[in-house]
Amino acid sequence: MAKREAEQAAAKVLRDSGLAGQIPTPIEDVARSRGAVVIRERLDRDVSGLLFRDDDSVMIGVNDLHAPRRQRFTVAHEIGHLVMHKGRPLVLDHVRINMRDATSSTATDIEEIQANQFAAAILMPQDLVIREAKRILENDPAATDASIVPLLAQGFEVSEQAMEIRLVNLGLRRQI
């Protein structure tokens, strides 16, 4: 349920922005379409990003110490908070070594999971991932489940880990 909510929210944000259908998702333009200013800045190493909103502005801060693909995921994650979690004017996201899983139950944990689902959905839209995966498999009959992950990750400008998780969640790849 929560998951579908994140998928739908991501699809709606993409549609509203008029930027749907592009690979990779121009995530900063999407952020701007929601009125957000995106700032890259050297932040504490354990901070991935933050969301700051007040009456007249929305700011997304991204830690530019992190890898570019990681930064894209952070921007997407913050847009997720922006559109799904209206009650939180300030969000500070830390890098987590142990990814929170579906068994986490505090309100904050649930919001973090939702924001991650949103980020995955907006950076790797289901229809586009399926289309690209098919295209790769058609062009290279020798391609395997494992060999298409880095290719897809490169195309969508996400980490291989993020793509791997997305493929599993979309039922396109068996759980490892």
Partner: protein, 109 residues
């Protein structure tokens, strides 16, 4: 002298030079001596606000283009919820807020 007058003076000089007008040429149209114009441009002379209008008219620019941008220093106590974060975390927010405000001001200029 306050930084405001220095910044105003800089903007005035740049606007004047952009129009290719000398200090001596603009002085009579604002009712000042060339020396006064030079002092204002160096930020060494305070001036009345009607002169802002006179300078703007003489240079055919909007008065606001001669005024420095207001640098609003973020105030933690005026941002709801910020004080619930640790001082180190507050600093992360303020860093981003400062940069964003600067970018918004620059973007409009």
């Amino acid at each position: 002298m306050e930084p405001f007058y220095r910044e105003f003076g800089d903007l005035l000089r740049r606007a004047r030079q952009a129009k290719g007008v000398s200090q001596a040429a603009i002085a009579p149209s604002v009712g000042l001596s060339r020396t006064s114009v030079a002092n204002i441009e160096r930020g060494r002379q305070r001036m009345s606000i009607h002169l802002l209008m006179d300078f703007a008219r003489a240079l055919d620019v909007e008065p606001c283009t001669l005024l420095p941008a207001v640098q609003i220093e973020p105030d933690p106590t005026r941002t709801p919820g910020l004080l619930e974060f640790s001082p180190g975390e507050q600093e992360q927010f303020l860093t981003i807020q400062r940069r964003a405000r600067k970018e918004m001001v620059d973007g409009e200029a």
